[in-house]
């Protein structure tokens, strides 16, 4: 039987496997045999055997015996000797790794243009970026190269690519998914999450990877995951933050699609009301670009040419370490290490890092107050549709603004789900649904009901 890998969901693949309509080998081959003209993968794997659902894995997630580069030359030949907990969980459910997907270097970026191994392409329009940092996983899922994938999200790296490529992505509540074995970027923000063609697959994959892990002391017990089935939104209160909707910088075509989705939610029974996050949007970006680089500068100190990764020789230890880091890191990690080091350095710590941590409290409290009246809030995930290569690559600040709407909730540790809602200029538009901590089931319910009502076709138009 011929499999349409562009359209096949993980749930349908599982049904075909369970009914023995296809073999595990046939299913894996349907994906691995497809040409990767999107540079979605940095490495593709052989079928390990078995009859589990195949999965693509972002290359910041450590995989035993499979090269894991984090999109960086400094880890170009690094082969982990153990599996990340999320990989162990996936394997326990029989999932088979199709390959390791491209990412901005150390997950720092919004387009994959910061990957040391070249950018990935958007399946809807290969002259445009797939978003980032998880653009490889996004391109794989939307491009028919994987039924679903694992991503990681620090400030928007799952949700933004999902928006730009037209599929579903969840950034889970901080602490619900183990970070053990995942290449660290900013530890108080990093979360692994599912990337999928629809909300039910997304929820199912979340149920596989989430849970408390004794190897990550920041993980907690997770409420049982409910696969969404309801078509209505009765009793759901949805807040529309006025600082994230109908504001300057959002493309009109994006606003139009988001508004249509909100109106549809209302027609499905949801109660819609305006709300306000007066400081979170304005101060989220500056807060994030202090907290995340500060943590990154500390985390990336480990790449010193001693235990693993690249080494460039030098006359003494210091020279070796400095040369290794200069040769191994690309521009973006260097920029963030420099910003973070500056913000943490003597004389500047209070003005920058300590202040940003207090702003983070302000942002948390603002969201807490909104969730006293609403079950979730909604906004565009990205202010724009997928942009062209080079459009923002030369201007780090312009690239940082891609995540202006996804960042505030990340700082507050909140879950966020991207759901595609329509097209603008022939390119996907996504909304983000943000809930209070541990509200994943609400996000799945609302996302699923909207998805059913909208009937968005997640297969890129040029590939139908």
């Amino acid at each position: 039987m011929t499999l349409d890998t562009l359209r096949l969901t993980a749930e349908e693949a599982k049904r075909l496997l369970d009914a023995k309509e296809i073999s595990g080998a046939e299913l894996f081959a349907a994906y691995s045999g497809r040409e990767d003209d999107l540079n979605a993968y940095l490495l593709r794997c052989d079928d390990p055997g078995g009859d589990g659902i195949p999965i693509a894995v972002k290359d910041v997630i450590g995989t035993k015996g499979i090269r894991t580069t984090a999109g960086s030359k400094i880890l170009e030949s690094y082969v982990p000797v153990y599996d990340a907990t999320v990989i162990a969980n996936a394997k326990r459910h029989g999932l088979r790794i199709l390959g390791k997907t491209n990412t901005d270097e150390f997950a720092m970026g919004s387009s994959t243009e910061n990957s040391a191994f070249g950018p990935s392409r958007n399946p809807w329009d290969p002259s445009r970026v797939p978003g980032g940092s998880g653009g490889g996983s996004a391109a794989a899922v939307s491009g028919g190269l994987a039924p679903w994938a694992l991503g990681s999200d620090t400030g928007g790296s799952i949700k933004q690519p999902a928006a730009l490529c037209g599929h579903v992505g969840l950034r889970p509540t901080y602490g619900t998914v183990s970070r053990y074995g995942v290449v660290a970027f900013a530890s108080s923000l990093d979360q692994v999450g599912p990337v999928a063609k629809n909300v039910r697959d997304c929820a199912f994959l979340y149920s596989i990877i989430s849970g408390r892990d004794e190897n990550d002391s920041t993980t907690v017990d997770v409420p049982p995951v409910e696969l969404p089935a309801a078509d209505d939104l009765k009793g759901i209160r949805i807040g529309v933050p006025k600082q994230m909707n109908h504001v300057e910088g959002v493309q009109p075509g994006v606003t139009e699609q988001v508004d249509k989705a909100i109106a549809l939610a209302e027609s499905l029974g949801a109660e819609i009301g305006e709300c306000s996050l007066p400081l979170s949007v304005d101060y989220g970006m500056p807060c994030y670009y202090l907290v995340a680089p500060a943590e990154a500068s500390s985390n990336l100190a480990r790449y010193d040419g001693v235990r693993y990764g690249l080494r460039v020789d030098g006359a003494d230890f210091r020279e070796m370490a400095m040369r290794t880091r200069d040769a191994g890191f690309g521009d973006e990690p260097k920029r963030r290490i420099m910003i973070g080091t500056y913000a943490l350095s003597s004389g500047y710590y209070d003005a920058y890092y300590a202040t940003a941590q207090k702003v983070r409290t302000v942002i948390r409290r603002e969201h807490d107050a909104v969730f006293e009246k609403f079950d979730l809030i909604v906004s565009p995930t990205s202010p724009t549709v997928a942009f062209e290569f080079g459009e923002k690559a030369a201007d780090p600040l312009a690239m940082y603004l891609c995540d202006v709407f996804t960042i505030p909730s990340c700082l507050a540790g909140l879950p966020g789900l991207n759901v595609p809602v329509g097209l603008s200029e022939g390119l996907p538009v996504g909304i983000q649904l943000i809930g209070p901590q541990f509200a994943e089931n609400t996000l799945f319910r609302v996302g699923h009901a909207l998805e059913q009502a909208i009937g968005f076709d997640f297969v890129p138009e040029r590939l139908r």
Binding site: S77, V81, Y82, G175, S188, E214, S217, T218, V220, Y283, M285, P286, C287, Y289, L290, A301, D304, G305, V306, R307, Y308, L310, R311, D313, G314, D316, F317, R318, E319, M320, M322, R325, D326, F329, K334, R335, I337, M338, I339, T341, Y342, A343, A351, Y352, A354, T355, A356, Q357, K358, V359, T361, V362, R364, P396, L397, Y400, L411, G413, L414, Q437
Partner: protein, 94 residues
């Protein structure tokens, strides 16, 4: 806000163990000044009495059982080592 100087770039690069080329020094002086100017916005707020958030969850004292358990075999520990001397990572002299 004042632009950061070439000396500051070199100081931070040294703290961060980055050996930068001349081109990088000039480029980063410009870009870091722009970024720092943007993030300095955090200082506009009155934050008196606001406690810092280091971590988004209210977890306190996540204890692990104080018991020994298996760790990686040495061959695995050294599997990615650039240089090794018996059971040590070998590095140039300090």
């Amino acid at each position: 806000m004042a632009r950061i100087t070439r000396d500051e770039v070199l100081h931070v690069a040294r703290l961060a163990r980055l050996e930068l080329s001349e081109d990088e020094i000039a480029k980063f002086q410009e870009q870091l000044s722009d970024i720092l100017e943007a993030v300095s916005k955090v200082s506009e707020l009155d934050l008196s009495g606001v406690p810092p958030t280091a971590h988004p969850l209210a977890i306190e004292n996540a204890w692990a059982e104080d018991a020994s358990r298996p760790c990686l075999p040495l061959e695995d520990v050294f599997a990615n080592a650039p240089d090794r001397d018996d059971d040590h990572f070998r590095v140039p002299p300090a």
